[in-house]
Each structure stands twice: as structure tokens, then as C-alpha cells.
Symmetry: C2
């Protein structure tokens, strides 16, 4: 069973504090710290860890313990919006685990955070059954500074914990979502209007695919343009379908695809589904992948 977890923490300037949080994760059994990076202007750090449900739960609680001890939102400044010391904890099913399992884990972890540390917890995305509280931006609007007032208004009681923010640690948002793939397609043109029109054609907000966020950018140094995307559910809106539509839309303007790129990590299943599509693979099963078989999936 493999769950990915990407906690975002409101500290990106004091390396010793970040390192202490990383160590708290590393010391936990059943989980691996895959990556962590800090941004000083955001004053925020992102940890990537993966493991089984018990390992992820223990690692998140160890991280929250350190963050609540070391971070004070009353003096925290940074460009990135935030509600709490541990700001958001997304849980992502990777292998041998369902979204329902991750939702159950989000609720268990959220309950524990509230009980052990007195930090109110809001559930989001798949873990939330309230449409007004699925979207992280909606929950975070007003930030730490506006949180006490917001929690006093109808509909904004937390899912777990006290009815007011923790004095120094604010609140934490915990939820479950699909793995997000950062995916860019570079076009053999310098026409920004083409990239912007294609981005508009494929993103949900303007009528495109449900699980695509997209924008058009210029890559000044290379004299080309890019359709930059987040794919928020690669099972329901797979990479290959997005790629084929971008290629077709570009052709409409006489433009060809130069290359595409995946930024950061991608689940092996997202690549396998592209191979299945293009090779017209019939009846292919995940356990035919040697590495999956080895892990007993």
C-alpha cells in the first residue's frame, strides 16, 4: 500500500527548523521522505513523503508536533497565503489503496491533530462532503489574520477541534486528492496568442477538460511558447488525451509540438496508461509490470 503525502508548512527561512521537521519524518517507520524544498519569499516549505497509512499518519503527527512548537503565525510573513503552521496536508493514493482509504486516513489524521495539539482542522477536496469547503482557496481565503472572524461565521466551524484558531498555529487543512501532474507542452512558435488560445481550449474553467488547469506562457530565452498545465486527475483526464488535443489545436494554427515535459514526480500508472493508449494494448493489467508484481500489487 502506497500513499503520498505533501505537507506544506509555514516556515521557509530558518533551515534548522525545517531540518528538524524533516528529521521528525525521517525517524518515522513505514514512511520515506522523498523530497523537501523551502522558499524564502513564500516563507514556506513543502515535504514529499510516501508510505503506508500508519507510517504516513505517524509522520504527519510528528511533523505537526514540531511545527506547532517552532512556528508562530502571529509573526509569520510571506507571499504565499496560509492559515496555519502546518498549512495543508494532502493525501494521495498511489498504489494498492483507494481514494476512500485516503479519505478515511484524512479524517483519522485530522481528528488526531485536533485532539493532540488543539489545532482546528478543516477537511478539503475528496475528504470534504461540503461543496463550499472542497476548494483549498475557499477555505484559506482571509488567511490566518482573518481566521478567528471567519470561524465565527455560519458554515465555518471546523471539522475537528476547537471553534477558534490555535493562538500561534492557526488551523490545518487536511484532505485527499488525486496525484497532481505538472505537465508542459512547448510549441514551435513564438506566438503567445496560440499558447493562450490552446490553454483556454483545454482547461476546465473555460470549457475544456474537467481536471486540467492551464495557462499560456512565453519562454523568452528560447523564443517559444508553452502551454503550462496541472493535471489534477490523471485517471479521468489522462495525459495522452490532453497531449493529442493540444497537438490538434496547435495544427489549426499551423504550429507543431516541439516537446512536452513532466515537472517533478509522476505515478508509474500515468505513464503506463499512455503506453496502453498509443500501443493499443488490450487487457493490460498493472500486475504485468514487473516492479508492481515485485511489490505484490
Amino acid at each position: 500500500m502506497l500513499i503520498e503525502c505533501i505537507p506544506n508548512v509555514s516556515e521557509g527561512r530558518r533551515p534548522e527548523i525545517v531540518e528538524a521537521m524533516a528529521d521528525a519524518i525521517r525517524r518515522t517507520n513505514g514512511v520515506q521522505l522523498l523530497d523537501h524544498s523551502s522558499d524564502a519569499s513564500h516563507n514556506r516549505s513543502v515535504f514529499t513523503l510516501a508510505g503506508d497509512a500508519a507510517g504516513v499518519e505517524a509522520a504527519v503527527l510528528a511533523l505537526v508536533e514540531r511545527a506547532v512548537a517552532d512556528i508562530d503565525l502571529r509573526t509569520h510573513r510571506g507571499e504565499h497565503p496560509r492559515l496555519g503552521a502546518v498549512d495543508v496536508v494532502p493525501l494521495v493514493p498511489i498504489e494498492g489503496v483507494s481514494m476512500a482509504d485516503c479519505v478515511a486516513l484524512a479524517k483519522r489524521v485530522g481528528g488526531e491533530i485536533a485532539q493532540r495539539f488543539g489545532v482546528p482542522v478543516f477537511l478539503y477536496e475528496e475528504a470534504s462532503s461540503n461543496p463550499a469547503r472542497k476548494n483549498l482557496e475557499d477555505i484559506r481565503r482571509g488567511e490566518f489574520e482573518g481566521l478567528a472572524a471567519k470561524m465565527g461565521t455560519p458554515g465555518w466551524a471546523p471539522d475537528f477541534g476547537p471553534a477558534a484558531p490555535h493562538p500561534s498555529a492557526g488551523a490545518t487543512v487536511v484532505g485527499a486528492r488525486m496525484a497532481l501532474i505538472a505537465y508542459n507542452i512547448n510549441l514551435a512558435t513564438d506566438r503567445l496568442d496560440v499558447a493562450k488560445k490552446i490553454a483556454a481550449a483545454i482547461r476546465q474553467s473555460s470549457g475544456g477538460f474537467r481536471y486540467v488547469k492551464a495557462a499560456g506562457f512565453k519562454l523568452e530565452d528560447r523564443g517559444i511558447v508553452q502551454v503550462s498545465m496541472n493535471l489534477t486527475n490523471y485517471e479521468k483526464t489522462p495525459i495522452f488525451r490532453v497531449f493529442e488535443v493540444v497537438k490538434r489545436e496547435a495544427a489549426r494554427y499551423g504550429v507543431s509540438v516541439l516537446e512536452s515535459e513532466i515537472v517533478g514526480l509522476v505515478p508509474s500508472a500515468a505513464l503506463a496508461s499512455a503506453a496502453e493508449f498509443y500501443l493499443q494494448l488490450d487487457g493490460f493489467k498493472a500486475d504485468q509490470v514487473l516492479e508492481n508484481k515485485l511489490r505484490g500489487i
Copy 2:
């Protein structure tokens, strides 16, 4: 580090003997038995195991010990050609390990088999530096019954062990090769001539790709034909290239590809390379695959 090993053993009729060999592998640390299957008419069993070098070495030696004790080639009958009790031991690099590492392991394992059990060992494929002894069929020609005479002729001294066959266990062939992918492409036609012409176009033996073996077959029950292939080096002759050429050749006869299928296991890297090709992925690295990152590759 991950090495796959697929020992072929000359026993496929006595389940208790096969099960004892499977248990010998299961009891070994550092290796997992992924699969085993027996064929009564071949009187032969195939084991699939994977692990690190030390685990694979120990498992193969444990298997040979059981096979030498339980199998007597003097009374063995079966349709499949064979030289010994443990007939052939291919070692396959999967991840974090080079072909050179597998060649070194083949020599180490071969030396140990000869020394511990008095069974002569022939190296083959990448582990052999003798062109006449790279091909398994060349080494196995004459089978167990002709082995004593063959080993007496120039050029057929074994790489390790005694100059004559083991009385009951014959000889064992040990080597290193790339993972083999069993890959079929089904065509939307009942014209066997089309499948045969395409098979001839793509296989090495008649001028096609170096690492493709292919034949055309009729799938009587479905009224269609199939190009059935073994891809013997998916890095140098990748799946997508073979698929695209078959599709193009089929179009020449007005035939389209119905579907393709992978039979059995496939390394994750072989699927990733198809995704890279079709999505025109630029600068993609194996450690961007979440599961690879987890295993520390």
C-alpha cells in the same frame, strides 16, 4: 538493485518435487519468487524470481541443490530440449544494475554450481565471449543424450567444472541477457499472408530489427491474424518502434491494427519509453517516476 532470474528446470510432472524447489527459493533472503509454472508435456518448470545479487545467487544455488538431488536426466523424457537438471539460468538486469553486473554474477554463480555440485557450466548470451557459444540453441544442440560426446570435441570444454557431464544432472547453462518481452499485435483481417509478410519485415532473421523474433499466426476462434513477437532488447529495439512499423506495413495491405498485447511481465522502463516517445517527453528521468524514487533509484 533488482535482478530478475528465470531458471528452467527439467521437471514438470511431479508437483511435490517442483514445490520443494519453489520452497527452496522462498526460504532464501533477498529474493522473491514471483511466479512458477510447469508443463507436463515439456516435463519442465520455469521459475521467475527477483532480488539483489546476493539473494539471486543464494536462491539459484538452493534450487540447483534440490534439482541435482531429485532429478535424473537418464530417465527424463519431455518434448522440450534440455541439457541438465537445472537446464538454463538467465540473469536479467532490471533496475540499478548493469548488464556487466549480471555477467559478473553469471560467472560467480556458474563457478559455484560447478564447484559445489560437480555440474559443468556453460556461459551463454552476454556472459559468453565465444560467438559459437552465445546462442542457447547452439549450446543445447544434441541435448543431454549427446552431451558427453559433444564435450569431448574441440571447443566444447565447459566454462566451469568437470570436462564430462554430471551423471544424472547433465550440465547447466548460465548467462545474462536483457529482459524479454512477449508482444503480439492483432490485425483486423483473416489474411495469414499479411501477418507472415509483416513478421518477415520486422524480424532480424529476414532483415528486420536486430532484437525482434516474429512469426505470423491465425487466431482461428476470432477469425483474425496475429504478428507474434519476442523483443529481446527493449532498450535497443523499443516496443513503440516495432508497433509503428507493424502499423505502417499493415496499412500497405489496407489492414489496420486491432490491438496489441503484452504477455506476462514487462519492465516499467519499457512502458515509460513508449510514453516518452508518443508524448514527445523532453529530458524525462527515471527518478521522476514516483515508484522509482521510492525505491531510491
